[in-house]
Every structure is written in C-alpha cells, then in structure tokens.
C-alpha cells in the first residue's frame, strides 16, 4: 500500500504544528512559520495545506478557544497523528542517510 507523500511545504507545516504542540491553529502556525523560516505563506495557502494534511491523515484537528478578537469564532487546533510522526521520521531518516553519502560535506556539530 502506498503511503501518502509529503510535499515540501506540507512537511514544513507539519513540523511547525509539531513544534507548536498544543497551540497550533491557523494564525499561530502562520506566525511561527514566518518567524522560523522567514517565509510567510498566505493564509489561504496555509489552510489549503492543513486541509490536505488532514485528508492524508498526517494531522487531526479539534475546535475550541474562541476569543473576542475573532468575533467569538472558534479556532481549529491541529495535532500530529501517529502517521504524521512516522512520515516526518521517514523523511528525516532518508535525508540524513543521503546527506551522509555526499562526500566532502561536513555537517556542523557532527
């Protein structure tokens, strides 16, 4: 069975959701992304990616945390699923392995 693939931007979003742990929802993900990577995706692109990740099973979501600033509307919080974690680890392992194979490339701290 084919496991769903993880796109570049999707991977980044997934990582940020993991970093934010319990506090990952649209605006906070967007801000964290901007802060950590300097890339500021449009909120539309972000929601689109979150939606795809959820459909692929890498993320799960629950709603809550309405604030006045949002006009009393709830947020949708995201959490990485087991499948998501496994996907991240696989990608990471693959990268690591490949990077080790590149001659004359020294990774700082290694």
């Amino acid at each position: 069975m084919n496991e769903p693939s993880l796109g570049n931007f999707e991977e980044l979003v997934l990582l940020i959701v993991g970093v934010l742990d319990e506090n990952a929802y649209g605006v906070s993900i967007k801000n964290e992304l901007a802060e950590r990577t300097g890339r500021s995706p449009s909120i539309g692109a972000l929601h689109s990616a979150l939606n795809r990740l959820e459909n692929k099973g890498f993320l799960e979501s629950f709603e809550g945390g309405a604030t006045a600033e949002r006009g009393g509307r709830r947020k949708r919080y995201y959490r990485i699923t087991a499948l998501g974690k496994r996907g991240l680890i696989q990608v990471h392992a693959l990268r690591n392995e490949l990077i080790q194979l590149i001659p004359h490339l020294s990774l700082g701290g290694n």
Partner: protein
Amino acid sequence: MQEKNQHPPRWADRFLEWFCKDQHLEVIQGDLYELFYDRLENMPPWQARFYFIRDVLDMIRPFALRGLIPYNLIYPITMFKNYLKTAFRGLIRRKSYALINIFGLSLGISVCLILYLTIRTELEYDAFHSKAERIVRITQIFERDAGLFYQPYMPYPAARALRQDFPEWEKVTQIHTNGGGTIQAGNKKIVLSRVVFADEYFLDVFDFKLLQGNRQNALKEPNTVVLSQSSAQKIFGDEPAIGKLIKLDDMLSLKVTGIIKDPPRASHLPYSMLVSYTSFTNDYFPLDLDIFSEWDFTDHGSVYALLQSGKKAENYAQELDQFKNKYYEKDIAQILEIYPQALRDIHFDMRFAERNLGRTISQGTLWTYGGLGFFILLVACINFINLSTAQASLKNREVGIRKVMGAKRGQLITQFLTEAFLLTGIALSFALGLIYVILPKASQLVGLPLYLNLLTDFHLWAFVLFTFVTVSLLAGFYPAFLLSSYQPIVSLRSLAPSGSPSNRFLRRSLVVFQFFITQVLIIGTLVAYQQMNHFRSKDLGYQPEAVVMSHLPFSRDSIQSVRLKERLLAHPQIAQVSLNSSPASNNITLSGGFQGIGDDPDNWQSVQFRAADQDYLATYSMQLLAGKNILDQKKAIPDIIVNETLLRKIGIQNPEEALGKELATTLGINRARIVGVVKDFHNLSLQNQITPCIIAYLPENFWNFSVRLHPKQDIPALIADMENTYNQLFPNEVFEYYFEDDRLARYYREEERLMQTFQVFALIAILIGSFGLFGLISFIALQKTKEIGIRKVLGASVNHIVRLISGEFLKLLLISFTLAAPLAYVLMQHWLEDFAYRIQIQAWVFVLAAGISLLITCFTIAYQTLKTAFLNPVEALHYE
C-alpha cells in the same frame, strides 16, 4: 490597543460567507479576523483592509469552496493567474515593445478622453434647464437679395402678441441685451458686460438659480435688479447687496432685489445682471419712435417661449405664419420667416452665431473632434497589432509547447487577449494620470473649462470602460487569433511564421493605413494654416494697425462728443480722430436698404451704413477713388460716400460717373447724393463677402470714436492721456478701449482655435505613428541581422543594405500618399467652402506634405537602419 471601531470590509466578509463551505467558514473567518486586528497594530487601517480583501480572494481554493461554484470554473481562474504572470514576464522581457505600446496607447487614450469630455461639455449646453426640451427661441429669418439674414431677435411688441395669440403656450418671456453698462454704487464705478433686461417670466422659463430674493417677484417692479453672484462681489465686495441701490449708465436707479448664481459656462445666455424689464423704456433709443408698438424695428430683444408638454416647435410653423401676416407690414412679411429655434439647438446653429451672446460651435467641428480622437486611438492600436504580429516568431515556441501540453485554441486566445488587456490597462492608468496633468492646457486649447471627476462621473467611467474593452479587443484580437493558429510542429521547428505572406500583407496594409491617416492630417494642417495666414495677412482695404476705438457714453451729448474730438486732436501723438457708428469691419451694425430713384418700391437692396464724420476715411486710411470727402453737416439731401460694391449693384463701372447720382435709402435719409466713392474695404469679417456700404453723416448714430495714433508711441502713456481727457468730459463713465487689430483677431478666434487644436492632435497622431514605426523597423532590422551579415561578407555596400531595409517602407509611404492626397483634397476643399475669401489648394502643399512625411519616416527609421548597416559582419553573424 485594539481599535474596536475598525471593521474588515463588510462586502469582503459577506463574499467569504457566500463562497466558503460551512465546515471551514467559522475557522477561516476567525483566522482572517484575528490577522486583521493583529495587523491594525502595525499598519494604517486601509492597508489592513486591503490585506483582508486579498486574503479573502486568496481563499478561493478548491478545498474551501461550496458546491455553488463549479470546479471547471476554478481552473480557468488558476490558469488566468498564470496568463497574467506570463504576460507580465513578457512585458518585462520585451521592454521596448511594451514601452512603445504603452506610450502610444496612453497618449491615444488621453487624447480620446479629452475629446470625449470636450464633445460632451459642448453637447450639454443649456441642458441644465429642467424644461430645456420645451423651450424655444423665436427668431426672424429675412430673405434679402444679399442672402438669408438670421436674427435671434424679435420686435419689442412681439412677446405680448405671442402671449395673446398662443394662449396654450405655458410662458412667453422677453429679454433685451445691452452690450455692457457702467455701474455706479456709492463712489465705485465699474463696467459690466452682458447687462440683460428680463421680464418677470424669465425665471419661470429658465432654471438659473436664485440665491437670495424671491423668485416670483424679483423681476416684477420697475427699477429693480438681480445681480449675479460675481457682479455683486465686484460691486459690493462681501457686504450684503440686497436692498442697495446702483445706477446703470447714469440713467437708471436700480434697487437690488436678488442675487442669482453666475450662469453656468454651458449657457447660451450669459448675464452679469438681470434688470427688470419694466425698467426698460424708450429712453434707451435715441430714435423718434415707440419701440414697444413698432413691428418694423428690431434691436437686441429676444423672445423665448415655453411650450406645453408634448409639443414641438415644428408644430407651430403654420400658426406662426399667420401670426406674421397679422402683425408685420406686408412687404416685410413677404421676406420674413418666423422660426422657432429649439433651445438645445442654439449652441450649434452657426447661422445665428454672429448674434448669439455666447459661443456657438458647429456640429462639424464636434465631428472633427470625434474623428480625430478615433483615428489617433486607431493609430495606437495599429502599433500594437503590428508589433505583436511582427514578434510572433518570439512567441511561437511558447505557443507550441502550450499546445503540446494540451492547451486548446480558445485558451491561447484568452491568454493573448489577457496580454492585450493588461497592456491597455497599464496604458489606461497612465492616461488617467496624464489627463490630470494636461487638462488645464487642453481646456485652453479647446476653449472650454473641462472637468475630470472620476469619483462621481459614471458616464465617464462607462466611456473609459468602453474604450478599455474596445481598444483591448481591437488591438489584441488579431494577434491572438494569429498566434494561436500555429501548428505546434511548425512552431517548435522554429520556422518564423511572421514571414507568412498573409501576415506580412496585413502588416503592410496597416502601415499604409497609418501613413494614410498621418498624411491626411499633415495636408489638412498645412491647408488650414495657409488659410488662417491668408486671413491674417489679407489686405482689408484699410489699415487696422495703430487704431484705437472706444465707445461714446450711452446718454450721449453731441456737443461733448465734438469737444472730446477736439481735445484728443490737440494731443501731439494723435494723428486722426473720427466720431462714427462703428469701426470699419463690423458684423453687427446699422443696416437698411437702398434703390435707385424711381425704382420699384418693392425692390430694395440691402446695404450697410456707417455713420461717420469727415475724418473717418483718414482715420482708417481708406482710399477715396473719386469725389470728395465732405461729410460735415446735415443737408436736406445728404451727401454720402459709397463703396465700389454698391456701384456694381447699380450698374456703374467708373467711379467718376457715380458722382452726383442720387439714391433712395432707408434709415433716416430718404434721398442722398453720392459725393464720393471709396475703394472696397472689408466691412464685414473675412468669413463674409464685402457688401454694399454707405458712409453718411448721421451724428445721432455716433456711438464710437476711433483714434489713429502716430506710429511708435509710448502706448500706455497715451492711453492714460486719452482716459484722462475722456473722464474730464464724461465724469460718470468708464473709459474702455480696443485696438482695432485685436478686435479683428477676435472674429477669427474660433477658427484659430480649431486650427490649433487640429495641429496639436495631428502632431500627436504623427508622434504615435512614428513610435510604432520605430519599433517595427527595429524589430525587422534585428530579424535580418544575420542576412545582412552574410550580405556584407559577400560584399554588399552600406548603401545597398540601407535600401534593403528601408525600401519597403518608402514604397508603403508612396502608396499611402496616393490614397491620402485625393481624400485630403476633397475634405479640405469642403472645409474651405465656408470662407468667402479662401485660398486655392495648391500642388506645392501636397509636395510639402509628402516631403514632411518622407522626412519623418526617414528620421524614424534612420537610426536602426544605419546601425544595422554599419554593423560589423562578425557581430552580426555572432548574433543568435
């Protein structure tokens, strides 16, 4: 911290609610709101709002959309984004191409918009009256043997008679227009032009806005006046004017009963003040008749009628005929037509132009404006078409790949049209900016105040939108059609399809058409210029230079006038002084009839009178052909001087023969003896033929005095001296003066203006066309670089190469010239027909026009051609 009163734009919010799936809506909306309020802390609200809108639009993504938008509509949106991106990249890559197109299109669009504003402003004349469609001006048309004679005036008893005989008309109002008047208020003394006497119905018929006072009875009582806002300002400054007294022409004491808004510029009826009609009496005329019962006398009195709804002026032709026969003398009624002229026609009816108070413009001029705008825009569109099709070879690879990837033809057409729309859109925004800058200049040029109000002017927006779409389609359709037709296999093999014969034929035809337009414009400009020059330098039969004229006071006193003349003559720098009824050339003057003694009493010929003293001829430097210049006293059978045209009318060839002959004339002299013959001078403006003219000593008609100065004087000092003398004798008057040559120039102002406008726009058209040509030749030279390199290696000379590149264009120029010359000839011949004294269109005009366009073309293509021709073949062959 948080600004509670700021909201995201509501419509964007609603739009989001409309398209977003319910399951996502709350979360997405919440995020957008949160972002909005976060941003408010870092940026001005408008910017946060802008980002909000952008985010909402960005949410139009498949996952978020409700079922209401079908999926197959989303992909075009995505593709459209791609088209825009490709188009932008294309423009940036081909900068010169984009620049030429944007330059041409924005110039063309601005000209077009300015002409649109001009035409619209002209067409809106008198439209501000709510009953405009029902208002008519009652006019008289006389059929004299000199031609038809158009008078926007009626005899003074006419208004009352019309009210009686046409009870079904809602209102009839009459006015009398004085050229100008001297106003006194306290110690202040000023001259106001356009003093209008208006009766109590005037404000019922017309919508001029009364600011202070009572609309019903402001003009009812004798000796009352309604001042225009600016007149009140001039007379009283900021003090309240109502209830104050002013004195008009040292005759009438008037109480101010109202303040009226200044007439809009688009009014055929300008006024500085409205004096109640009941203040208007026989005293105004130095004639021994009761003008209010005299059907035989017409001055500057006009009558307007407000018809009942549903009726048109034409419905009354027959009744007005009966009316005419009932009131007028039989012999006048025979040659008279009473013509009800619709209010909205007044501004365009050139037949009455000379006697209208405001400007009159012919519809032909408006059509010319419209045509110019259209053709200038067309020239710019042709640039676009030519440059795009010429560059087709640059695009064919892209087209090939898109087709291989599955693009349908319709999609490609959409793509290329997007490019055209984008380019036109950029040009349009430049044009709108440009218009703001050049609008004041343009207003001067067309002689109209033009306003550009983008916020409220929906008609303008409609026109802008229309122009945008039309230009984009006109310019973009053919290139899109052509480019999308390429077969991928051919495209990818990179055979230059721009070389296909039909494509080249079209491009050549378009170039010919561009040349054609510019050449017609060049020839037209040259002919118009020559005609205006002819006007300016025409021998008038007298010397208008160094002659100053001024009016004698309205309540004139002949002894004072003679005294004035004597004192002025005593001035060492004044050569001649003459008291008279009007200057030498004057369209509005005393006119009447004459005939030989004992002729058929029904057979009068029309004649112009000049009332003048014996210094008239000397003052204007007119030439006496025969007889004497004795005009110094009233006689039982007065002496008169006639012009040559009059002699021809009575069949006398030799001026000497005419001396001693007697004539019967109207206007106070029943019989008169010819004592002198003056060489023909232009007694009317140059648009008209010279008419028969009689100069006679009629001191009761001395309304003006003319002064000939010794040449080369200190003019300001001299004028000050004259003013001094004038004020000593007429302490209650204001000295106003005109230089004769300035006054004459005013007769040709409209023509001069039209010609200037024409010149400027012709220049713009030529400029746009030249730019396009420059782009085209640059591209062709580039394409031929390799060919030229090879030719040079094989021994071709520079001369040969130049001919190779430019030969085609010169051929096209020749073809277009043979088409343009006859059309321009016919058009300009038609234009010249309006002038009584006109030039012949000569062959050299065409030679010159051809020379000019040849020069422009050579100049345009020279740079690229020479650059390519001198190129080192190594460089050329290196070019890939």
